[in-house]
Symmetry: C2
Subunit: 288 residues, 2 copies
């Protein structure tokens, strides 16, 4: 059973136990959150609509202190995966279903891409194969949250994945929904669902809970898993990610997961080490 | 094992065995096909992009003789299901992800609907919940093939299905792909996949292989299942549909299914009674 953290003393003993604190962002951090003094803080988010640079801008606005090198997004991790793990040759390309955040990270890693925000693919004109020419250099499809997803993008991605031999099917993350300011909306997992369904095949997923994301952090940051804690609001991404990496886990109840999801007869099988109402409560310990 | 039908004698004995011939359309019928004289012929299609009236127009163009009452499409069957099985009250509505064919059939059955081809929902402008007002009268979401599917439609459908108590999740059919003139494209099943994924729930499916489609035909036509044969190009829709309804089944190899799918070590577990290269070969028997 998860240990409840609510009193200042409980927080203080938790803070003393861990040196590296990995925070999920959406649904966890709030306006003006100041995190733990004297500890290494990393931000690990599945949100691929923003690049690390845009995240830094958002943090600045919210008053959350962060540096670009402390931010690990699934768009960044996907770009690193394609350039360093897949080792996509420089003359090959990725077809993107996704937004500017993915494109920025691919560009930074020197990965060529088509699709994405290209106006030609952001259209509701009926797609037919008559005028489509298959680009043989497309060797991967990368799919993330895309608020302008449409039949043309899905159909082009489907052509590459069925007709270009060896073309890889990658997704930034598999979150079924995401918490927008006014409520839940379909997430990146829902955007890639038509391709999964049409291909009858699961993609390689980069974001939490996949180990790919942790590999990406470990390549840049030296941390002791036993002295590291992952803080998040979602059991099947954040908490599972921490557990798979041998990290401690702290669930906050300010986002997706509610009290009912972790107690009672229908409680999830994924049990965090610790649970707390809100990460804002850490401020008490932090004296701010 | 399926019985091969290829010689005129084999065709003739098949024709003599069955009184009612149910034909799938896309991938089965071709320009100028004339079907079996003196037999009852019905057309049973999962294609929901066309109403029965539009199908009749297409048949006229192709030189295939057909009457509107002989055509059973998944759009029509969905409209009948909503009005006669669900018995949706007249003051309630359906939210449509789909094209004009679905709207025409709903209108003919007197079912109110929103969404579909409404320009307000056919947009790539980012959707937010801020300006969305939930219509409490929406008691079903009906999803079919929609070449203008987008995030606004998916998000609105998601809101109705999660926030309107008892709202039903219906799909015209679950075909993962469909054979366009120039090759395979993602099908109606792929269009509804984001909702399945975000809801973690399967919809009620109306088209083949579901029995709902056969119920719809049986309500209008009197036929003896033992003297009826279903002809189609897809094992997991057409052939399964025929088998579930106690009909004989004939697979044609002019569409989705290839020789490899029915022979060899990876052959499908769904075995038709008969298999033939093309339905055009029936003409030999028919003397045309």
């Amino acid at each position: 059973m998860a240990v409840r953290i609510s009193t200042p003393t409980e927080y203080e003993s938790l803070v003393n136990k861990y040196d590296t604190w990995m925070f999920d962002c959406d649904g966890v951090l709030w306006h003006g959150d100041r995190l733990i003094d004297g500890k290494r803080v990393l931000f690990v988010t599945n949100n691929a609509s923003k690049s690390r640079k845009s995240y830094k801008g958002k943090f600045d606005q919210l008053g959350v202190e962060a540096h670009v090198e402390e931010i690990y997004g699934s768009a960044y991790a996907s770009a690193v995966y394609i350039s360093s793990v897949m080792k996509l040759p420089k003359d090959k390309k990725v077809y993107v279903i996704g937004m500017a955040g993915i494109e920025e990270e691919l560009r930074e890693e020197g990965v060529s891409f088509i699709g994405g925000t290209d106006p030609e693919d952001c259209t509701l004109e009926p797609f037919t194969l008559t005028n489509f020419s298959l680009d043989p250099d497309v060797q991967a499809v990368l799919c993330g949250l895309d608020l302008r997803v449409n039949y043309t993008k899905i159909s082009k991605a489907f052509q590459y994945l069925t007709r270009n031999p060896g073309c890889q099917f990658l997704v930034t993350n598999e979150d079924s929904t995401f918490p927008s300011a006014d409520g839940l909306l379909p997430g990146a997992g829902a955007i890639s669902a038509p391709l999964r369904y049409a291909l009858e095949k699961d993609p390689i997923s980069i974001g939490k809970p996949a180990k790919t994301m942790l590999d990406c952090i470990q390549a840049k940051v030296n941390f002791d898993p036993e002295r590291t804690i992952m803080i998040g609001d979602r059991l099947n991404t954040d908490i599972l990610f921490g557990q798979a990496g041998g990290l401690a886990t702290l669930l906050v109840l300010t986002g997706i997961t509610s009290e009912q999801d972790i107690t009672g007869p229908n409680a999830s099988a994924i049990v965090p080490d610790y649970v707390t109402q809100s990460i804002g409560d850490l401020r008490v310990v932090n004296g701010k």
